[in-house]
């Protein structure tokens, strides 16, 4: 046994994040912890890593004399925590980031004895272990993509000694390409006798990685199952406490005769090189591709987030020039960003202020906000979009799903003609996911054009009327979701043969 938690509780003012959880982890075994947002899975990981201390109950790490009281003790006890946000120093090189842990303070570390890590061979070996063998150790960390950053952060597993490794939503910012590297890393750790905890709500990844799966709901442990004896349906049911009803197919589009909402011709910009497509009224068009395929460049270019390098965009048949997001908003084009924390909402704003941010000019006279009307409207929106918390709750304190609902409300309040959603359900639990899908269907049903960009093939297959696949900045395939499956999309995205 690697650790044993008995009766662990963590109470915050007004919230019981964990309410009496008993859980054990074994050496050389992977334990998955699943749960909807707010179920307490990240709290459990933080308690085990000593980042926070339990209100009641104890967690004993085998071989350590007493329950760990802080992060430093947890580290001594052999607990390695991999956070959702990669621990990377942007201005350091890749090589320096690999050896970052040597800069910390501790008994066995002498910070004044820092010397340039000259063992490039060892560094490269470590990088190869996380699928970054092609990088130079002298590259700056800030030039890496989000997936590469996460993998670089994970390389710490190869250079520290530990008995327990926690992966807290570590795959949230990596895409499907990097997952195999993570699997290999986990396999090596298992062979070395590490006890691994994988906190996630991506069930396919949980099943690919874990030996046992613990399901949490509302701070309580529902059940621990052997991964071999269960399936995604059962886990989902346990997570949300009821069977998830199958998502309805979107209503068919009436395309006959209607002119397209958006016509894109030979668009260049970012990594997109000559992309053309139409979106009809009431149509949900999916855009699939791997990281770097140009899918996000297309989304950002047609919404004014970045300048187009060439090509034309027609909205309702007229050419539009979209040099800035301001111009796009004026043309009633909405863009729901992939990076919610950075671009989605304002962190010091409450729900009300965030939801009225874009549509505020509509609620004002000569630049003066009609406060009563704004208050009334945002209160309605909170109800309409089922956002947890009130109008004066800070959006940054909400779960990912609720944050996304606030962002969706903010954009739909402008009554856009064309909506672009980049990874609309990234880091969002199943319950909120269904809400977001329903909202997207609703937008299309009102005759608007919708473009959904996603790295999850399944999501697009169940959500869209039509799917385009991109590779190397170009559209390389078009699919009808009724007649295609995940395999078709991924295969096309990876290797396209003319």
């Amino acid at each position: 046994m690697a650790f044993k938690a008995v009766g662990v509780k963590k109470h915050y003012p007004g919230v019981k994040a964990l309410d009496g959880v008993d859980l054990e982890g074994y050496a050389g075994s992977v334990l998955g912890i699943c749960g909807a947002n707010g179920a307490g899975k990240s709290t459990f990981a933080k308690l085990l890593a000593g980042v926070q201390t339990p209100t009641d109950g104890v967690i004993n790490v085998t071989g350590y004399p007493h329950p760990v009281r802080n992060a430093a003790e947890a580290e001594q006890a052999g607990v390695l925590m991999m956070h959702q946000e990669p621990l990377i120093i942007d201005d350091f090189t890749v090589g320096e980031n690999v050896w970052l842990y040597k800069l910390r303070a501790g008994k066995d570390i002498r910070p004044w004895a820092v010397k340039q890590e000259t063992n490039d061979k060892r560094t490269r070996e470590v990088l190869r272990g996380v699928g970054l063998g092609h990088l130079s150790t002298r590259d700056l960390a800030k030039d890496l993509g989000p997936g590469q950053r996460q993998m670089l952060s994970l390389s710490r597993a190869a250079v520290t000694t530990h008995k327990i490794m926690i992966l807290d939503e570590t795959t949230a910012s990596t895409s499907e390409e990097h997952f195999n590297d993570i699997l290999e890393l986990v396999a090596r750790e298992k062979a070395a006798g590490t006890s691994i905890i994988f906190v996630s709500h991506r069930l396919n990844e949980v099943f690919a990685m874990c030996d046992r799966i613990a399901v949490l709901r509302n701070g309580k442990l529902v059940k621990v199952l052997e991964a071999a004896d269960t399936d995604a349906d059962e886990i989902t049911t346990l997570m949300i406490g009821q069977a998830l009803k199958a998502l309805d197919r979107p209503a068919a589009v009436q395309t006959s005769g209607a002119a397209p909402v958006l016509e894109v011709r030979d668009l260049h910009g970012g990594t997109a090189r000559g992309v053309s497509f139409d979106v009809n009224p009431g149509e949900i068009l999916g855009l699939y591709g791997l990281v770097g395929s140009g899918r996000s460049s297309v989304a950002r270019t047609i919404t004014g987030q970045r300048k187009a390098a060439g090509g034309t965009i027609k909205l309702h048949g007229t050419d539009v020039n979209l040099p800035t997001p301001t111009a796009a908003v004026a043309k009633r084009i909405a863009y729901l960003t992939e990076d919610r924390r950075l671009e989605g909402f304002v962190k010091d704003f409450d729900n009300g202020q965030n939801m009225s941010l874009v549509a505020l000019p509509k609620m004002s006279t000569a630049g003066v906000v009609r406060s009563a009307e704004e208050k009334k409207r945002v209160r309605e929106l909170i109800g309409e979009y089922q956002v947890k918390g009130g109008t004066t709750t800070y959006t940054s304190t909400l779960s990912g799903g609720n944050q996304q609902k606030v962002v969706v409300a903010k954009w739909l309040e402008t009554d856009p003609d064309f909506v672009v959603l980049d990874e609309p359900t990234k880091g969002i639990d199943v319950g909120a996911r269904a809400n977001i899908y329903e909202i997207i269907h609703g937008v299309a049903a009102r005759g608007k054009g919708v473009l959904v960009v996603s790295s999850e093939a399944e999501e697009l297959l169940s959500l869209c009327h039509r799917i385009l696949v991109m590779r190397n900045g170009q559209v390389v395939g078009e699919f009808d979701p009724e007649q295609a499956d995940t395999d078709d999309l991924i295969r096309t995205a990876l290797t396209h043969v003319d």
Binding site: G40, S42, E343
Partner: protein, 341 residues
Amino acid sequence: MSTTTTTPPPVHHYEENFSRSHALVSWLKGQYALGILAALLVIATITRGSIFWGATNMTNLLLQMSIIGVVVLAQLIVVLTGGIDISVGSALGLAAVVAAGLFGGPSVLLGLLVALVIGGIIGATNGWLVAFRGLEPFIVTLGMLALARGLVYAYGSGIPITPGAAATYANLGQTTIVGIPLLALVWLAAVALIAFLLYRTVWGRRVYAIGSNKEAARSSGIPVTATLWSVYILAGLLVGLGGWMFLCRFASGTPSAGNLMELEAIAAVVIGGARLSGGHGKVFGAVVGTVIFAVIANLLSLLNISTFLQDAFRGALILVAVTLATVQFVRRKADASGSAK
């Protein structure tokens, strides 16, 4: 606009459940600046109570805080965007001497116009470099600090400039309306104007959004550069107004006008609870910060403490207040992360 939601949505009103008295108590807890002010007033009452609360001293105090008060407002709106303006003191000085000297300073109204134009030009230059050229506000306004102060000395050759209408200026500076100095009323009007702009207009909401999260603001279609520019221009106009008020108070454009005012303005804004990284701060806090510094200066001179030590006291207070502010902030952050789960 309706969504596809069919079930009646659950409506949460956590915040409405708090009673008013509870809200008042929790509001007071965040107002440590008011606590400092109260402590200062108690000290003043104990040590020099009769003089301090006397009508003459009160008028003096109000006059003292009016000019810096307007400059604090300028600093506040810049700080809210995540910027900083350390050129306010020099800009005020330049506005004052040029308003006093141009055409011989024949008229108070012309002086006001000149001061506003000078302040506006300086603000517009700062703002253009920050918003459109993407330069650091600190370094831009540092350059402007040296430039404007140099022009002040050059314009008057280092000698105070007395405007032609000096008597009218002095008269205005001594005018009181129902016992309140005219300059204090000008300051209060500026407070009301800035509060209105920040809290009730689209522009104000944009200022906060930009300061808190520039990327989200840009992505939401907010005209970030234009808004930033307008903030610096408005700050410049306020500083110009401050320069004109300086002339009213002292009837002369001295070369040292506005010297070190940037220090006091930034400190007042920070003591008032604004965050230097932007997006967080209130007009009320800035006003309290202004009053605190005026009371300290006033009290120290009533206590006959040397002017050199006065500066040291002021510096020490800034350190104490900033430390208090971070204690508050850390606690609030812990609460926020706690309730987030």
